[in-house]
Each structure stands twice: as C-alpha cells, then as structure tokens.
Amino acid sequence: MTEAKKTVKKPRGKASLMEGKCIACGARCQSVCPVNCVEMNDAGEPIIDQSTCIGCIKCVKICPAQAIEMYFTPEEQAILAELVGEAEAVTEDEESEARSLATRLAAYKGVWVFVEQTEGEAAKVSWELLGKGRELAGNLGVQLSAVVVGEGVEHLCIEAFEYGADQVYLVDAPVFKHYRTESYLKALCLLVQKYQPEIILMGATGLGRDLAGAVATEVKTGLTADCTGLSIDDKRNLMQTRPAFGGNIMATIMCDKFRPQMATVRPHVMPMSERQPGRVGTIIRESCPIREEDILVKVLEIISDRNKDHVDVAGAEFIVSGGRGMMGKENFAMLKELADELGGVVGASRSAVDAGWMPQERQVGQTGKTVRPKIYVACGISGAIQHLVGMQDSDVVIAINRDKDAPIFEVATYGIVGDLFQVIPALTNRLRELKAARGLK
C-alpha cells in the first residue's frame, strides 16, 4: 500500500432524490438531516442542497420508499472501486466467520405459532398469528406449524389446520391443564430443541408474554415483544417492527445471530385469516416428562367476571368511545344508546377512565386494549398518541370533536367537527326510525 493511497479519503457522496419515487411521507428526510440541507416543496417532496450535504445517508436510511440514493461523481466512483479492492483481503476472514454463523442458523427451519388456550378455548390472537405465519412461511419456503399444549385439546389441532397450519405439535397431558410457566416452558423448550424452528410467534397476552420471555431465556435467543409488523429480509432474518414510546416511534429489531427468532404480537394487530373448513395436516404427538409434584405454582381457580355484564371491548365489531369531551359520567348513557342500536359496546379513552366515568377494562389505547372494530366512533376524544395506537387500525374511524385541530382527525376516516351532544342523540334517533321503518315493511 503506497503512502499516496492512504491519504485518499473515502468519498461519501451526496444524497439525491430519484424522480417519481417520493411518496410524500411527511418530511422524514428533512427531520433526520443533521445539517438541514433538505427543504420540502409544496408537493411534500424533498429538495436537497447538495453543496451542504455531508453524505451521512440518514435520509436514505429513513426513507420509507427508497426514493433517495447516494450520488457519486465518476471520479469518486473510481476511488471507491479501488478501495473495495483493498478491503477484500481483510473481509475474507469475516466471511468465513459469517459462513459458520450461516450454517449454524440454517439448521433451524420452519415457522411456529404457539396456540394459546384457556380451558380448551383458543385465544383468537393465535389464529391471527397463523395468518401472519402463513405469509412468513410462504416467503421463506418452509412449513407452518402450530404448537398446542394442554389437556384434552386435540380439537384445537383441527382448528389450527383450518386456519393455515401444515402440521401441529401436540403435547397433551393432565399436567398442562392450566397454564403454568414452568410446565409449559419445559414442553416448549423440549420441542424447540428437538425440531429447531427458525421463527416462533406468540400472542402478547398475559400468558404469551410470560412464556415467551421464559423460553427465550432458556434457549438463549432474542425476543421482541408487542410487534406490529413482521417481515423477512433478504438474508432470511425476521424484521420485527414494534412501537416504542406509546407509538411515538417505531423501532425495527432483528435477531440475526441467534435462532429461533421469537416475537410476540398483541391481539387484534394482525388481521384474522380466513378459515378454510376441511383443511387438514399432520399431528405430531410429543410427551414431556414432567410431574405435577415438580411444579411450584398451583392454579387455585380461574375467576371469570364475564357474567357480570362483562363487555369485551377488544372483540367488539362496533365501538362507541368517549373521552374527556363527554364532560361527565352521566353522558356516557348517550353513547350506550348509540352502541346498543349498532349492536356494539362503549369504550373510553384514558382520561375518561381516570376521571372515573368508565371502568378500566373499557379503556382503549396503549395501557388499555388494542381494538380493530369495523366502526370506531370517537366522541370527544382529542386523540393522544397513546389512544391512537390502540384504535388506528379500525376499518372505519368516525371522529366527532369540537376542536378541528384535534389529532384524532388525522387517523379518522370521517371527521365531524361539531357538537357531539347534538349529533349523537340525533344519530341514535335516526337509526331507531330506520330500524322501525324496516320492521314495518
């Protein structure tokens, strides 16, 4: 290597916009630029001042549409080519290391979904995950398996096939009647070590969070909780995207050096896959040597408050939600009437719950429930980000608010700037009239 070469600086290039690719995502490139060389035009596309650009490629990385590339002059390209030639010798070592890692990882094959069940009834989130798992398995060209653990739960295997599983690992024994971390952990670790899946998905429920953490520790691999997006990159790694800071920020997390890759997903985040009656697959039975006496935790009882006018907000198709703008507890009666007409339920924002107007289990949002109903009617909810993350995937959001600048209108499909105390009763009455008229026909 000559002295002259050493002084050559690696050219960093200048960011430049590729014509027609910008999707006007909302000025992410501008917000990320450390030297403020990006301005936005009226169409929401960036204008990059190349004289100030330092070639940090932050804008390239953040762009969701890959619309920004680095531009090198022909002279710079020549220098780059030369540098690559020099570097090759160095990277050979790394390459062999990468190869051994790749062989280690390649031993793991297949996508698994853990089917969560309580008293023989599967949690819906498990079927949602089978839908997502189907897609991932398709991308990877591998099989999709479900894992069913419990007592007398063979019927769940049939359901799992109908929701997309190719095969089911079934561990059925009395000791697994109730969920306990220790017993389920043993069963799952046994399966993982024997069959070596590359991806394991679980619902981010009380049970799933508990079990996923324990399994990840035991088999020593990475875990990403509460994912909202899952996809496969070009190296067959699982890209796991999850909200942080109550949805203010999305973080993409990868576990590229360990297998299996584990992720949990909150209920109602992934769409339910279509059930295909009559679809079949293979059941693989496994037994797990674990005795009741070895388990320290005992389940005494499962208390259900379903009977006492329990309402499952998370599963409802229509939700009428109220926030601070409802002014008082008594006004929620109005929402209840509308919800009854629609055949839905009443939800609430955190401020309404904190004010004692609605019970905590009705809360929608980051600390409450995530919902994706057909229709979400937001009444007097300003739309704090913590609330939005819980409901923004609803099919249709109708927002009624007096403040036209309220953030709820940014996620609303239909916004009504007006007085909800007039609109809601009028709407309820009109619905009743129409229903009555239909009844007469």
Partner: protein, 258 residues
Amino acid sequence: MKLLVCVKQVPDMESRFKPDSRGVWFSETDLAWRMNEYDEYAVEEAVKLREQLGESCELTVLSIGPDRVGEVIKKALAMGADRAVHVQDLDAAGKDPWQIASIIAGYAKEQSYDIIFTGMQSQDRGSAQVGVLVAELLGFTCATTLVGFAFADGVITAKRELEGGLKGVAKLQIPAVVTCQLGLNIPRYPTLPNIMKAKRKEIAAIPVTELLKEEPLAATTSFHPPAKKGGGVVLEGDVGELVEKVIAILKDKTAVLR
C-alpha cells in the same frame, strides 16, 4: 426477608421524541425524566410489604443508568425503600432486555433476595420482558401482570390479569419475581420528612462492567416515526345533514341497516 424493587427512569411520555444520530434510539436532549409508571406501583407494593413485615425486612431499590437516574432512586427511597443500588451505565438505553436482566440477575444472585418486584413493562421500550428474564436467570418463580398481591407464611397469593376480563389467582413459593400492572395500588407521594430522611440513606454505586458479561441477543436496526395515515374526509353541514351522511356510511360499510 430481603426485598428488591427494580425501577427504570423513562422520559415523560408527553415529550416529542426524535431519533438520535445512530438512528436506533431517541435523542435525549430536551426531555423531562420520571419514574416509569409501572415501577411506581411496584415500589408502592414493595413498601407496603416492607411495612407489613416490619423491622426484620429490608427493601433495596435498584436502577440502571447514568447519573440522572439518581432522581428516581431518591424518589423510591423517599417512598420507603431502605437502601439503594445504582448500577452506573452511560449506555443503558442501548442494551437489550436480555442484557438488562443479566445485570439485575448478576447483582441479585449474590444477595439472596426473597421477592423481587418490578413493573410489568417500561413506558419507553415497553418490552415487558425484564422481569420474566430475571426470574428465569435466577431460577425464581414468577408471576406477571399483577393486579392483586398478598403475602403470608412464605407464600405469595398473586392475582394476575389475563385476557378478556379474566383474572387468575396463583400461589407462589418464594423466592419469586412479580411484575406489577397499573392499578395494583395507589402509589404514595413522598412526604417532605421522608424526602429529607431519604437523603441520609445509602446509595451503593456499582459500575456496569462488574455485573454484565453478556452480549446482546437482539439489535434495534431502525427507529422512525410511524407512517401517518392520510387524513380522512371531513363531513360538514347541520346536524340533520351530518346524521344522514353517517347513516349512509353505516349502510355502505356495515350490515346494521340491512
């Protein structure tokens, strides 16, 4: 009895977050800091148990981070913890849940704690894993998402929040780790005399390098604001017109009026 409560300092959620220069975490400038809300419930529950058990019991609070986490440690001490451990780490935010759990377990394994309390998740990263991982690393029993807690004769009775309004009650042998859900109790405000007293309590500082021997298992690769959905249609008109428009939407999108 020896109790440990683990707390995290998080930015106030009202703040505006901008990704930092590495693009994998947020920039810490202009942020206000506070105790993770879930951990406040954990501290309160631990302090209540400490009061129930009396002088035979000692409650330690542990936090990981740079100097600024001293604030949350002092708050926990003022709420009633006896002593504190500050694991000094300038880059706590860059560590994955596995490493954080390893740090806590690395400290706790020498101390033979009977019960470790922590929040169910943090408000910032929100991975909800650290408690479970610590329990696994130490070989303790564990119950997560607690909405009820009682302790008598060496056995914890824990009421856990399950899905769809279900609650589960479990009995746990100690040593155990419990993670606390919001609404478990009403966290107290530190009183002025207690704040003054807290100033005299011991805070042991331990450099993170003494406790952490583990490499991260997962890496954050990107960090960006969520994609905004395009704004919707604004409906206008008087109440009567608005109602008709909404009815039309309902007819179009749902089966309510069919």
